[in-house]
Amino acid sequence: MEDMKDLVLNYVIKEYMEDGDEEITYDTPLISSGYVDSFSMVSLLVFLENKFKIKIPPDKATPEAFDSVNSIVALVNQHLK
């Protein structure tokens, strides 16, 4: 579980954080803070689907479900077989 969280957290930092000074945690809002916009959310979705070999239905890929590393990991866990 922690591994999965770190994997997602590190990916978010690497891909979406423009300023290396900013620190985020598992609970930091990603969408509502503006770190990840609704267009970029699609690439995050593709990352999750590729990495965890899952398919997340469009109606589950909501801004709320993507709003923190913790909520993302919960979403992924729901779709892991």
Binding site: D21, S33, F39, S43
Partner: protein, 567 residues
């Protein structure tokens, strides 16, 4: 009673002098948008009225009176002058929607320099082509966007100053970087406003076309005459309104109606600088008792998607007038807004090039859900036959939306691109690049673009720009980019690519390419779908047939394929 009153009467006796008189402007006078939006409002006795309520992420709240924004504009203008920035120099604003973005807009204009606002989510390459084209002399930005500027600095010899508004003094400044803190600078009470005239350049917004690099749309200070009156008559702003324009000033709506229109009328406006969430938006309306809300179809459809239940948690009764811009507003959204808010979102149609609203649904006018409405008084709007370029008189017949040039906020040129500018005019008409029909009652009905430009979430993306960037990825051999239908954004970017030898198609490469474009150009330009192909459809002369791929995406007839290259 709405500001416009009777549309028919306004049409009958319309003259732009209505706006000039209200603004106390006479032909040949000095006209400076920065002054009109702040100093003049203070002189009218509204110095202590709130001009801006700002809310950022994490609950940061700020508010500014009209006197505060007057002083801030003076202070920023004086600082720029102290660096040697002079009239007609281009100063880029590359910031999130923080107060400094709005206040710098006034400061730059006050000293007669040209504001070049750019969307802060742009990647380094998108930023580069726009700064290079405008030969921008200074850029005002935030620490978080600095890396993108540093990355392209070597290629921008004209860029002399990188002004950082939130430098934390922890990391040292690098070459050409200057720290400026509005809060730590003594407010400047008086500044000599540069004596700009009607035709003095004011704002340079960039827009995308099918081919070539983005074009810098040059506007002048006289645009205020259109922006003031359309704000008053279409957005119907009245003295006690609390107004929220959700557009980012990196795009034209965010300046024409997110700064110039409301502030020239002395209206209080609100800015929410956080990511989108239905809950946050409704809460914002409730908290500030917003009365007039100007938003975009993509946002409205996202709110629809969030469901009706959530609305019940908020008191949105302050809303009295709603309008929408950026792409056609579908009839479902119009009907939904009536059901949920008791009001229709009124569609407004205009473009970066037009500078102000051209065709719209007016307060008090019968709404035909899905229609664009009717031309603003003083605007001669028609649809032209695509072949003859003569106005179509037959109701329901589709043609090219065109306008008779001469309204005050019409663009004056494309920056350094006279040829492209001339191409926009045929038979004495300005061609918008969009298609529509007109019904028996004179209402316009949007059909689509007349070119391959992709309208995603109300923002135009050039397929050429994305295709060119794709070709710079080491794996991509050829590329073709088209619009793909999308429920929320109307259209999104889809890329068809062939790979160079040695590369294997797969989901990881797909993600890599998506992220490559997102960072290089912008999240808007990122292909939301990538399809690998063995070869792209081409004409016998070798030109990629984008039209065929577009038809495939939209389930349309592929039309004439006689020029298609044989196997």
């Amino acid at each position: 009673m709405s500001n416009i009153g009777s549309y028919e009467q306004r049409i009958k006796d319309f003259s732009w002098s209505v706006s000039e008189n209200e603004l106390e402007y006479k032909h040949g006078d000095v006209i400076n948008i920065g002054w009109y939006c702040s100093d003049r409002i203070c002189r009218k006795g509204k110095a202590d009225k709130i001009a801006l309520y700002y809310e950022g992420f994490g609950g940061i709240e700020k508010k500014y009176t009209f006197n505060d924004i007057r002083l801030a504009g003076n202070t920023i203008g004086s600082f720029l002058r102290s660096l040697g920035i002079k009239n007609e120099d281009r100063v880029c604003l590359f910031m999130d929607r923080i107060p400094e973005l709005y206040l710098s807009f006034l400061g730059v204009l006050k000293i007669g320099a040209i504001v070049q606002p750019l969307f802060s989510a742009f990647g380094d390459e998108s930023l580069f082509v726009r700064l290079e084209n405008a030969q921008t002399r200074a850029i005002i930005t935030q620490r978080k966007h600095l890396l993108k500027v540093r990355k392209i600095l070597d290629r921008l010899p004209f860029l002399e100053f990188i002004i950082i508004v939130d430098h934390n003094k922890v990391k040292p400044l690098e070459i050409k970087e200057v720290a400026f803190s509005l809060e730590e600078t003594k407010p400047v009470e008086h500044i000599d406003i540069y004596a700009t005239k009607a035709e003095s350049p004011s704002v340079l917004h960039y827009t995308s076309g099918t081919t070539g690099q983005p074009k810098g749309v040059k506007h002048v200070h006289y645009s205020l005459i259109s922006q003031y009156l359309t704000t008053k008559w279409v957005l119907d702003l009245q003295d006690d309104d609390i107004y929220w324009c959700t557009a980012d000033p990196g795009w034209v709506t965010g300046t024409s109606y997110g700064i110039i229109g409301p502030w020239s009328l002395g209206i209080t406006q609100c800015v929410l600088d956080t990511g989108f969430s239905a809950q946050a938006w409704y809460k914002f309306i409730e908290k500030y008792r917003i009365t007039m809300w100007y938003s975009a179809p993509t946002a409205i459809r996202s709110l629809m998607k969030a469901g009706d239940e959530i609305i019940k948690n908020f008191d949105l009764s302050s809303l009295r007038h709603l309008a929408s811009v950026g792409e056609p507003l579908n009839s479902e959204a119009v009907i939904w807004s009536q059901k949920m808010f008791g009001k229709h979102f009124l569609d407004t149609f205009w473009q970066t090039e037009t500078g102000s609203i051209m065709i719209t649904n007016f307060p008090g006018m019968k709404v035909k859900p899905g229609s664009m409405g009717k031309p603003f008084p003083g605007i001669a709007g028609v649809v032209l036959d695509p072949k003859t370029h003569e106005p179509v008189n037959e109701p329901g017949k589709i043609g090219l939306i065109a306008f008779k040039p001469g309204w005050p906020s019409m663009m004056r040129s494309y920056w350094n691109n006279e040829e492209k500018y001339r191409e926009k005019f045929i038979n004495g008409w300005y061609l918008s690049g969009d298609r529509a029909s007109i019904d028996n009652d004179g209402y316009f009905w949007f059909v689509g673009r007349d070119d391959d430009v992709i309208n995603t979430g109300g923002h135009l993306v050039s397929p050429f720009e994305v295709e060119s960037a794709l070709l710079e990825h080491p794996a991509v051999g050829e590329s073709a980019v088209v619009a793909k239908p999308d429920e929320v954004n109307m259209e999104v970017v889809k890329a068809f690519i062939t790979l160079k030898p040695g590369f294997t198609p797969g989901p990881d490469l797909e993600l890599e390419i998506m992220n490559y474009i997102r960072k290089k150009l912008s999240p808007l330009a990122m292909p939301q779908a990538i399809e690998y192909m063995d070869k792209l459809p081409k004409t016998r002369s070798g030109k990629i047939m984008r039209r065929l791929l577009h038809a495939k995406e939209w389930g349309e007839d592929i039309g004439d394929i006689s020029t298609l290259e044989n196997e």
